[in-house]
Symmetry: C2
Subunit: 469 residues, 2 copies
């Protein structure tokens, strides 16, 4: 017979932030309740089904939170006697848990919410596994044996050559393989650039009023101030502070607003860089995905000596590959290669596989079929929102894997909260707003329509429509 | 008709240091000759065959040096007119090279010498490509789609679980998957540890009198002093300076001396760590390869709370995989995971492939067959040296992929020089000696007998015997 949560007399605070928030919130709340003695040793907890029903969340979330706490030693689970608070758990100083379980557990990766519309991850279920395996086979069959040794810190020449060709053709990047550096993704590249900029005496990198805090944090970790540039209808206004030695931009597709930087602004930022010797860090995270207009070429093509072009396979293929690339101004290439060194190099087999994937045309084919998939989803999203929530305006959808849904003023926080309680992961625009953003305040949602597998897309869209005002 | 090098009237200085030294030395010498005007624009260079014969080095080395300089714009190569000095190359301020080629080229990875007996690289030609592809296929077939997303900074649970089992069985490591962190190799792990130790206030990490300068340099890069511990017949003597918060050791197989740390010394270093709260960083780089004695278990098994165990696939499989692992004291696991974060994570497909490789038994099979191959080579080395150079003593051969050849006093430098001129890469022991080493001076060579492919092994051994006194 299930006890209800309420009968345990414990307050429950669930963190409604981002993906994985529900499970972590529940885990933390339960752990606190045990630690503080509000749940006494031996107490039987409600079944996961019953607690899930009480909280209106997925049963799996409860089951996983229970499993976490069993692993940590706060709870015990035995066939027949259900889940109970472990003996000897009352005081924080003597929990009956294996030494070290807590610190390790605090880094457990977030698990999946019931519906995932958080931006930034492509449809992983459509990762081209068969084609990737084929490319791996070819890479393994043709790699010279010495390629398996310690290699060039810039990456395998096969991949740099393939990237130089692809980026020139698909993104208008002007480069040669010697100025390309293969990285373990965008964050790795940004970390290396932070190190090099710091060594050059730069202490300020201007960023956009909207963006990703994890990127700003990486720059701050390198000792940079990260003031915000103004944002308006033409995109980011590059009125760069005098102190700044570089500026981080998403010119082709502002993240998350979804606009392309206006041509006047592109010219202005290049002029700034030429005038001051500053660097433009061009984050071209999803340059491949354009629907209703001609692709906007990379800013790098205008000024190869002033722009560091940053690309990644995280959106076009999968973040788990940990593959990205930098196209560097020639004068910077050696410095960045030195900063990278051997320590954090990228596996050569993955590099050779991606090179095969690019040169065989498999990359283009995958991008084309993904573009079709995402375009269909975008259309379904726009149609559904227009029908079901006419007060909500769908913007930023000419390109990319996410949309910005403008909400009636004052409603963002409650919508995000409602979504979290439904097990629906998405971001409020506030989440992506710089603390010192120079732009009007907007209530909006950032919805990643690329994320769910095809089988979960309709359900996720329905869950979204349910929480819209 | 080939011109001879001498007719060009150019001094040639070849750097005889380490692998790749000949090619780089030749490239630098030629570039200097062009830059200084000693080789005038339009001058036709000797054919690579002819220059190689003049210098007594491999033709490939010359051809590659020429190709480097053509790529840089210093030389031109045309069918029918041979290799010539490019026009407009006389002054250093106006070389006819593409902008930026030089800095990038200065980071070109060293290429292979004629005979490679430098320690530290296994036989890459015997990398188990078919088995690796099989494991990749299984990994791709079974990975849940969400594994392709951003993951746990510690690495995939499948791999950490497989490693925990393997390390317990094969190396006597006591751990669980939560305390394991997957890295892009040993250097990456050491870099992370440097960061964490520094944040804990450590400013000194004691190291061995013999070792790898690149490792000491990584620690120095993290702001550590790296004083040397004494080394004698029992191995490294852990009389750790009071200032040191950690010590970096190779207990199972001292690198490069090849001895196992004496049991008394093992006990002493653990006692030091327990007494002071210091950390032992255990570099178990080739723990799998034992020939004449029982494997020496990991020091970590004695003191899991005091020892960070560091392993790598670089010796057992290939450095190009960029896969390594750390087994951390539970109290340190969360801190190191935080220091790692997402930025420099390791590709999940490589991780899942290695997990498959371990659990399927393919790893054990590969280690066994490699052990047999290396043991045969070691025996051939010992026999040949004893016969051909009776004054040379072969030591440190109970385990591993390299041997230490003790030379008559005062002969090391000339032997290393002679080897370099023969295109034979190996290291003098001095190369691995700490600048403040506390140990008697020995003249010796460090010979990596694991490195050449089977087809090149006999030739490399012959080249070695030719340069021995």
């Amino acid at each position: 017979m299930a006890e209800s949560w309420a009968t345990l007399g414990v307050d429950l605070h669930l963190e409604p932030t981002g993906s994985g928030g529900l499970r972590r919130g529940l885990t933390d709340a339960l752990r606190d309740a045990v630690r503080s003695g509000r749940l006494a040793p031996g107490t039987r907890l409600p079944s996961s089904r019953s607690l899930a029903a009480d909280l209106g969340i997925a049963r799996n979330t409860v089951a996983e939170a229970y499993a976490d706490l069993v692993a940590e030693g706060w709870l015990t689970a035995r066939q027949g006697s259900g889940t109970r608070v472990a003996p000897g758990t009352r005081t924080p100083s003597a929990p009956a848990r294996p030494a070290g379980a807590t610190p390790a557990t605090s880094h457990r990766a977030p698990t999946r919410p019931l519906h995932d519309l958080a931006p930034g991850i492509p449809d992983l279920a459509s990762f081209p596994r068969t084609e990737w395996l084929k490319a791996t086979r070819r890479a393994l069959a043709t790699a010279p044996f010495h390629a398996l040794g310690y290699g060039d810190p810039r990456g395998r020449p096969e991949l740099r050559t393939a990237l130089a060709g692809y980026l020139a053709r698909a993104r208008g990047v002007r480069t040669d393989p010697d100025a390309i550096l293969v990285t373990a993704g965008f964050s790795h590249a940004l970390t290396l650039l932070g190190t090099v900029l710091r060594a050059r005496g730069v202490r300020t990198v201007a960023v956009e009023s909207y963006g990703l805090d994890v990127h700003w944090a990486l720059l701050r970790g390198a000792g940079m101030a990260t003031p915000a540039l103004p944002y308006d209808a033409l995109g980011t206004d590059p009125v760069v502070p005098q102190t700044a030695g570089a500026v981080l931009l998403t010119p082709a597709h502002q993240f998350p607003m979804g606009t392309a930087l206006h041509p006047d602004r592109r010219a202005a930022v290049v002029a700034w860089a030429r005038r001051t010797g500053g660097l433009v860090l061009e984050d071209d995270y999803d340059g491949e995905f354009r629907y209703d207009r001609q692709p906007v070429g990379a800013l790098q093509g205008l000024a190869p000596d002033q722009v560091v072009y940053l690309g990644t396979a995280s959106k076009s293929l999968a973040p788990g590959l940990r593959l990205g690339w930098m196209v560097l101004p020639p004068a910077l290439a050696a410095e960045v290669a030195r900063a990278k060194g051997q320590a954090d190099s990228v596996g050569v087999l993955e590099q050779l596989t991606l090179a095969e994937f690019l040169t065989s045309g498999a990359y283009d084919r995958h991008v084309r079929s993904s573009r079709l998939r995402y375009r269909r989803r975008r259309d379904a999203l726009a149609t559904a929102v227009t029908e079901r929530a006419p007060e909500v305006e769908v913007t930023g959808i000419a390109a990319g894997l996410h949309a910005v849904l403008r909400l009636p003023p004052g409603t963002e926080e409650s919508v995000v909260q409602a979504a979290a309680w439904q097990g629906l992961a998405l971001h409020g625009l506030t989440y992506h707003r710089h603390p010192e953003a120079v732009t009007e305040h907007l209530d909006a949602l950032v919805v990643g329509y690329g994320t769910p597998p095809d089988s979960a897309w309709a359900g996720a869209l329905e869950a979204l429509c349910r929480v819209l005002p």
